[in-house]
Assembly symmetry: C2
Homo-oligomer: 215 residues x 2
């Protein structure tokens, strides 16, 4: 049932963050750089666990400068989420769309998510998944925004699967919507399994099993 | 690729909790009942978000009684995790083992996890998954215990898949270890998708897709 998995070049977060987060560089500091620093704190400690002191230290700015540039902790978090989508999530779609076929694209996208999870530069897991599960600690607007990010992921996958059905690359009997949900579920689940110390190699086998649903 | 999903009787948390958590009833209060109350608070608010005041209120006991009976917040949480494993996780294995065949068993187990997630009596999601993702907020012993719970789930699944291979119920070519990891990944991922407002019906289709890997 499992084909041996191919080794990809791998996504390195450090590279992804250089190209994502399209922020101004016109102020006294590099907005992109300080937002990335804030992102890593929220990613590691969660929204609730992150204090303004943590943000001051990570961003290298005092409270007044942070407030003037970004607003309160909630506002910084919302900017960080935009930055995350524009860098990390966008890198995964680049993997998907750069592949020679849809099956290889889905494999690369899921393996890319593993690359980021196991990247020594990241706190592990996915910021959206981690934040979504901090239920009760986010206002309704942030909660809806995170839910929408996962729904967008599913819809973007569904669009590509439907297109591949039309072009004859995938079977006409494939349920594009359900398969997209399954792929997104796998991506989210692997983030949890990584936190439970499952190895990257064992999760790559799960990627191959899920990709085999496209056969 | 998708067969229409069958409707199960469904697991109701209220029933599960009546049979799980094997605690003494010899004291001035019902240990099982107060631990279940504490469980629901941790489940809803997370470890970090739960205060001693929340526990006092939910358990209907004052701080001194709680401390004398269970110890500090950490100790209560550890007892709650044991209770969760003995009730919720154990109910899922009852679903698995009570089915007429392995394929139906895995389907019932995954659907049972959805039943609990979407049960109106629960805060949603899985306590182990939610707690595991609160990284940095647990001591090493608790962290290892939660990781072990997911590893035990995987191993228990693997044992049943291997047995079904031996009896000829499953193909000899099936990789029992990887398939067990994929099933556990799906279970964890569905908890996240539920938090992202995906419907139970759409996730049941994902269950069917993953079960089809056993064909």
């Amino acid at each position: 049932m499992l084909s041996s998995y191919i080794v990809l070049n791998g996504i390195k977060l450090r590279q992804v963050l250089k190209t994502g987060c399209f922020m101004a560089r016109t102020k006294q500091f590099d907005e992109r750089q300080v937002l990335v620093s804030a992102m890593l704190v929220f990613w590691e400690k969660g929204y609730e666990g992150t204090s303004i002191q943590d943000l001051e230290q990570a961003m290298g700015l005092n409270r007044t400068s942070i407030y003037n540039a970004f607003g309160n902790k909630r506002a910084i978090f919302n900017r960080v989420m935009v930055c995350y989508k524009e860098s990390v999530m966008s890198a995964l779609f680049t993997e998907l769309d750069g592949a020679p076929n849809i099956k290889e694209g889905v494999r690369r996208m899921l393996n890319g998510a593993l690359d980021i999870h196991f990247d020594e530069d990241t706190p592990g897991g996915c910021l959206v998944v981690l934040s979504l599960l901090e239920s009760g600690q986010h206002d309704e607007q942030s909660q809806v925004s995170m839910q929408q990010t996962i729904k967008n992921l599913k819809h973007a996958l569904q669009t590509r699967l439907s297109k591949a059905k039309k072009s004859g690359e995938l079977s006409k009997n494939l349920d594009a919507g359900s398969t997209a949900t399954t792929i997104a579920t796998t991506m989210a689940g692997m983030m949890v399994m990584g936190k439970a110390n499952f190895t990257k190699a064992s999760l790559k086998k799960t990627v191959n099993q899920v990709v085999s649903l496209l056969d």
